[in-house]
Symmetry: C2
Subunit: 202 residues, 2 copies
């Protein structure tokens, strides 16, 4: 069947449908919203896409987003260069920063090992991570990949690579979320919470 | 708090967040997808937005999308000009066309009456609908607005305007969806299905 829409509308529907989490129905909603929007509003979105791609790229050192050569954390001399927090994606940096508990530097892998999606270690920024350790005098690597299958596999893989280099290699804790409820915890999380139990300091 | 992202990334997040059905989390997912995508893929989306806005506008007659003056249905002389199907949005035309049951013309209101959202009859393409009736020799108007509060109110409003002009004014039927289940039907729908019952032809 040919498209019931004028070609440029169909093209817009196709392009929107490629975005993650945007199915055919959402693509329609967004396309109709844009068609009804003031031209300057739609153009502002188009321009934001082009400008973000043009002006922002990856930090040469840690692979966070960066407008210049280095990202905001790598430019900041007050950050502790001896502790490196390894995350999967730039958004994870935002999550860690919100805790205000970490003053070291970051390294973004840009993904996680996932055989199902065909992502192996060589697709991640692991070579670059290994190069940073002697170059920057890193003493501890905190593995802050996601606590799911891919993230755990990636953390395990990195731990095996890094431990022999005489570094402190740590993994963020898994357990019950604060404010959570034992009754509703899944058994894997609760198992982890038990496994990771700590002496109460009284 | 200032944005944890480089300004162009934050700008992209803001613009994506304005789209209908796109919350902060989806905006992040889409933005990161675009940042990781090949520049030509991201640019293709930006271009699709700009071109759809540039090249496609509203049909001068029925307010469907149109690349030129008239939409594909208004350009088609084989369509029956005496029957007009009134819908809320261009996407509703696509739904009606899929049934292959209708060979008349359309009129798109570009919305529905909604006091809550501040949409009154004067914001809809009702004046233009009224002008078409004598001009095109319309004999029947099918009110195919959505079977929800706004759509029903709009249909009622239009029926009151159109009936005195000696036209046949009809409303699409409400009832149980085909393949549906009586047990799971809500009482309003089932009520409508009873109210709209028809003689069985045997």
């Amino acid at each position: 069947m040919t498209s019931p829409y004028e070609a440029p509308v169909q093209k817009l529907l196709d392009e929107l449908g490629r975005l993650p989490g945007v199915g055919p129905k959402s693509a329609q909603r967004i396309a109709f919203y844009l068609m009804k929007a003031a031209p300057e509003d739609a153009n502002r979105l188009a321009r934001a896409i082009v400008e973000a791609k043009d002006r922002v790229s990856w930090c040469r050192r840690c692979f966070n987003f960066a407008e210049g050569e280095l990202c905001v954390y790598c430019r900041d001399d007050r950050r502790d260069a001896t502790v490196l927090c390894v995350v999967e994606e730039p958004r994870d940096i935002v999550a860690v920063e919100r805790t205000q508990e970490f003053r070291g530097r970051y390294h973004v892998l840009l993904g996680a090992i996932s055989p199902i999606e065909g992502v192996g270690p060589e697709q991640l920024r692991i070579k670059e991570l290994l190069a940073r350790i002697p170059a920057e005098g890193v003493e501890e690597v905190i593995l802050a990949t996601n606590p799911n299958i891919e993230g755990e596999a990636t953390a395990m893989y990195l731990a095996r690579l890094l431990k022999p280099q005489g570094l402190r290699v740590t993994r963020i804790a898994s357990g019950l979320p604060v404010g959570g409820d034992l009754e509703y915890a899944d058994e894997v999380t609760l198992g982890r919470a038990l496994e990771g139990r700590r002496e109460v300091e009284a």
